[in-house]
Subunit: 337 residues, 2 copies
């Protein structure tokens, strides 16, 4: 098996985020569950946008944020996702390439616009998202080049992309290509509502051994196996997957590999400004560590460091020098194998 030319190739929704501060009253009036992500059509997106305050646009998308984080950590990252040939598509492509992520999915025509995610950030730094999938939901199976997949050490997929049919088929192809090439497949459950929509499919993937690394937060893990508490969920899932990673916000994160459990505390943060991207950047840190051949305990630390950086400012992509942060925080740790 040749050496991979990419550390992580991520496939996900290519989305531009519109961040706007909001108060709890707006969530209540709109009937939005705090911290959730829901899908909306163009009409609803327009209506809600009209009720939002002034926004800041920044490229986002869960797996795209993870790819950006891997690159910021010095890893070789690629991203596959569909944007349209419009202004927001141009912004998305510029930003991810400027971060050093390989991105060459051809633009779709401008008829269906680039996806956008309306992110309401409440004073408690929680984000509540309404996503108009637009062009992202039309990622064709043809965008998946099996050769390209085979060149990446880790294929990373977001559960969100399971919603629309075309990208779901593309992701199944990608999983097949990665397995054929002997590469690892990492999968994020993304969101509890997403798990509810696709529980059977997600469990199927895991039980057929098609996922090597599973990322979930506490609520997603419980939802997947419909467990009452975290420990029951971990006991139910861990035996089915080679490496399970569960993030727990302020309570840190845990990983179970081959029956051995590792835990890491959250990194201290002076002020939590906006939790958008916390899970995405945790995955970035963890995967970057994995690609460097680090032990699981160090991968957890790297995830925690990357997540702490992204929640200390607005927006879902890193602003500080993540590589320097990791070098500083992990100093004294054994170098990568």
């Amino acid at each position: 098996m040749p050496e991979p030319s990419l550390d992580v190739l991520a496939i996900g929704n290519a989305i531009v985020d519109v961040l706007s501060p909001a108060d709890d009253a707006l969530l209540e009036t709109e009937g939005l569950a705090k911290g959730s992500m829901r899908l909306v059509d163009a009409e609803e997106a327009t209506r809600l946008y009209g009720r939002m305050g002034p926004g800041r646009e920044a490229s986002g998308g869960s797996a795209a944020n993870t790819a950006a984080g891997v690159a910021a950590l010095g890893g070789r990252a690629g991203f596959v996702g569909q944007v349209a040939d419009d202004q927001l598509g141009e912004v998305f492509a510029h930003d991810i390439r400027a971060l050093g992520v390989a991105f060459d999915t051809p633009f779709a025509g401008p008829e269906v616009p680039t996806a956008r995610c309306l992110v309401l950030v409440t004073p408690d730094a929680q984000r509540t998202m309404s996503t108009f999938l637009g062009a992202a939901q039309h990622l064709p199976a043809s965008a998946i080049d099996p050769e390209r997949i085979g060149q990446a050490g880790i294929l990373y997929l977001e559960g969100y992309l399971w919603d629309p049919a075309a990208p779901r088929a593309a992701m199944r192809n990608a999983i097949g290509a990665a397995r054929t090439a002997g590469r690892r497949v990492a999968f994020s459950l993304s969101d509890t509502f997403c798990v509810e929509r696709h529980r059977g499919d997600f469990l199927g993937l895991i039980e057929r051994g098609e996922v090597d690394v599973l990322f979930a937060n506490e609520a997603e893990a419980k939802s997947l196996v419909q467990a009452e508490d975290l420990e029951s969920a971990v006991l139910a899932i861990a035996p089915k997957v080679p490496l399970l990673v569960v993030t727990r916000g302020e309570a840190g994160a845990l990983a179970v590999e081959g029956g051995i459990r590792h835990e890491a505390p959250a990194e201290p943060v002076v002020e939590v400004v906006d939790t958008t991207g916390a899970g995405d950047l945790f995955a970035a840190g963890f995967l970057a560590g994995l690609a460097q051949g680090r032990p699981v305990a160090q991968c957890l630390r790297m995830g925690a460091i990357a997540a702490a950086e992204v929640i200390s400012h607005y927006g879902a992509r890193p602003e500080a020098d993540l590589r320097a942060l990791v070098a500083e925080q992990l100093e004294g740790a054994a170098p990568a194998a």
Copy 2:
């Protein structure tokens, strides 16, 4: 003369800013003078964008920022400017309306895209701007409704808009309409390069008595009358205009009205993050004070407070509650007449 239904009606370039951190080396390679604004065509905008790091998009435009600031201070503000019927035009219109600014300039077709300003923010918080004027330069004279102009207590114009021919004609019409209605005209010199391009026109406006309030920073004031130092510039300009306001960055600001000079220090700022919008928000604070009938010394303080807020974060529009800040900082001051 009926009571005005708007405090300030601003006319300017309707622009979406793309902010990106940059180092001094990039400015040097690109031959850009730090702190300047230059106009670029679509091709140059695309080339420079390709060399920039990942960006954050936020609505901007000098006079539009001022209108946003007036609204944030509790004033009744309106804005006239041209955007295209495209995604960035939609973003611009949403943001300015969400701030409570009346904006009803009809969208132009999507053939010429909405203006964007590439803002390179260096670690010293200075911003260097390359503006692609796009649709903004096609603001037609028909966008100026004399009745609307007559309803605003103060008409505020940015010198930047003097560059393209169509908006220049529109602004001349607007000045005529304001004078006919007995309203005040405020004018910002915008930028030293702008003054160099239009010195004759700007001096003509002032000498014909068409400007009641002139805003300039130190460099612009010196450039206008080609003076060696600030004091000479003030002596040369002040007799020609009822109210001259000169901002001096950290050195504060001064105003001369009817031969009487007022000065105010800059408000202290914990950390200067990005000076984009400092002059625009100073003008907003000053004009909001003027509209409230406050004495010039208090208008200067209000300008300083609004400018201090906007330079303490990324982006050119206020994030904090400016009205509360002014109430707090000016507490004990005489209430508005």
